[in-house]
Amino acid sequence: MPWSRIEQSHSAADSGRIISYKDAIREAIDQAMIHDPRVFVIGLDADDKFGAFGTLLDMTHPERIIGTPISENAMTGVALGAAVSGMRPLYVHLRVDFMLLTMDQIVNYVAKWRYMTQGQVKVPIVIRAVIGRGWGCGAQHSQTLSSFFTHIPGLKVVMPSTPYDAKGLLLAAIKDDYPVISIEHRWLYKNTGGVPQELYTVPLGKGRILKSGNSLTVVATSAAVIDTLNGCEKHNLDVEVIDPRTLKPLDEGMILESVAKTGRLLVVDYDYPSCGFAAEVCAMVAEKGFASLKAPVQRYTFPESSMPASGILERAYYPNPDKIAARIKEMLAEQPVLSRA
């Protein structure tokens, strides 16, 4: 197993090498394919000159990058068939919305295969999907859907927010013998940060505290992490910001510990609200951290609506650093609920 020697490094690198989120993903894929001949990439337009928003450009092993027809459902089955036959496929979707065509394969097949065969067959498959609004694309090209995958037993779900995590989580996902869904927000692609050159993994299931603080815990995912950090900096807020990085398995301990300190919880998740990941975190804390809560938990998500196309509405629809900061200030202004009837 070529992967057993790859060490886990949990802290951000001090390598000093600064690259973009996009390049971090590209490097991870290239290194994984060099490192392990079983790794291959499959996806619509994966082999075209745009290289999946640049994440697949100039690969050392272009012969293992397989373009596909507009056949997302069967292609997911193809990836699964290859995975159970000993390969390590990395499926890429340029928009998560196309994954709705693959829900049968993902939920009925990929997620359940290991359980139904009781581990006799491993399912080392990674599915990457790009999310995020842009340029009036409208309701069908702007969804998140992370809660769908998080709902299903048998899937792991990661949403890296930094270049360091993008590389490390993707490598951890490729190394893993379970199916992993990786969701990448397009707005993060140009962000830069320290990324070690060598192969490393960020452990699945471990969150990260990106900012310490005492008055409130914000759990945020993906682009919401960056927006929250920016909002806190701009408005000088004393809050603790946690990026769970893996939505499932969730680092419940880290969140509960933080809420034990702050007594307040806001979850910022760029997704539909109902039955979303924000609901999951709020419910989990209200179950397991209830005694620490001093005030109502809150969610900051998309409104209960599809995404509109027109620019003005698009901007109104999306949270941003100022709006997040405003919400935090409102929460901090509220009196704590200290005793009950």
């Binding site: 337009d45 075209d48 000159k49 745009f50 373009g67 027809p69 507009i70 056949s71 459902n73 069967a74 919305d97 196309f98 709705l100 065509l101 340029w135 009036g136 694309c137 409208g138 309701a139 069908q140 090209h141 409104p303 209960e304 609506s305 599809s306 509109p308 196309a309 027109s310 620019g311 003005i312 509405l313 901007r315 109104a316 629809y317």
Partner: protein
């Protein structure tokens, strides 16, 4: 010009030019960011929507995908409404909530379009089933590209339409490209060879509106009289990039400025048969240009939506 009357020929030309000129006006405007929505231009492919829609009444329904402008204008959408939609204004056909890929105009049989390739093929079949169940004599059209034929929903749709014998016309606007993939890279079989096992399958030259008009006429006569499905493949050429306002630079998609131009072809034919004069063509061109001016002005002067109206008709 053996197949077209003068009236029809001129009507077709007006529609071809309307689509072409509408989109040519988008080209310089688009980089100024007045239209914040992706555009998939129809330039070069106009013969297909025009030749198809010439046979349709307002009651006949049509369902298409992301490449909307051609079929929308051909089926009768008001230019103002389409332009305003691109401009993100509330006077747009979808009040600017839909954008370029989601156009709607119920009065003209356009009940919505989709940016997810393939799925709207099934909607046309359902609309034809509705006609059958409710005893209406209209028909429905599923209008799609060659890339959409890759998708499972295409297969399921032609099978169901054949099993239930519903009055639907499947039109494949075959530009031999799915984004940057050539047809040989994305679809192994010849479209008509497969589909003829389910229903009559016709081929037309999609760079020639006469060909499309006459072949689709035959297919639709079959559908209207027999109340059975039919399929028409129209081979055509995409001049522009898949998306946006640049000319395509694909080496494998070379465009012949005459043989691949439905407008040049039709005008030549009409001129040669003395059905039109150069002056009349100029006048048509100018009239359309004025209507586009008006549409742009209409769009520019229309209101943007209110942010408070975000959650509306969910």
């Amino acid at each position: 010009m053996d197949k077209l009357t003068k009236t029809t020929g001129i009507a077709l030309l007006k529609k071809l030019r309307e689509i072409r000129q509408f989109e040519e006006r988008i080209i310089p405007l688009y980089p100024t960011d007045v239209m914040v929505t992706p555009v998939h231009l129809h330039i070069g492919q106009e013969a297909v929507p025009v030749g198809v829609c010439a046979h349709l009444t307002a009651a006949d329904t049509i369902f298409f995908g992301h490449r909307t402008h051609g079929p929308a204008l051909a089926k009768g959408m008001d230019m103002n409404k389409l332009m305003a939609e691109l401009y993100g204004r509330t006077t747009g056909c979808s009040r600017s909530y839909g954008g370029s890929m989601h156009v709607v105009d119920p009065a003209n049989g356009m009940l919505g379009s989709s940016a997810i390739v393939g799925g709207s093929i099934a909607l046309g079949v359902g609309s034809a089933l509705a006609a059958k169940l409710s005893g209406q004599d209209r028909i429905a059209v599923s209008y799609f590209g060659d890339g959409a034929m890759d998708s499972g929903v295409f297969w399921e749709s032609i099978n169901f339409a054949a099993l239930k014998q519903v009055p639907v016309l499947f039109v494949c606007e075959n530009n031999l490209l799915s984004n940057t993939m050539t047809q040989a890279e994305h679809l192994f079989a010849k479209p008509t060879a497969v589909v003829q096992n389910f229903m009559p399958a016709f081929s037309a030259d999609g760079t020639d509106v006469q060909s499309v008009y006459s072949v689709v006429g035959e297919a639709i006569a079959h559908i209207r009289t027999k109340r059975q499905p039919a399929f028409v493949e129209c081979r055509t050429k995409r001049w522009m990039k898949h998306q946006g306002v640049d000319r395509d630079d694909l080496t494998y998609n070379k465009v012949d400025p005459k043989q691949d131009d439905p407008i040049w072809k039709l005008e030549q034919g009409l001129l040669e048969n003395s059905m039109i004069t150069e002056a009349e063509i100029k006048q048509i061109t100018k009239d359309i240009e004025l209507r586009i001016d008006a549409a742009i002005e209409f769009a520019q002067n229309s209101p943007f939506p209110n942010a408070e109206d975000l959650v509306r008709e969910v």
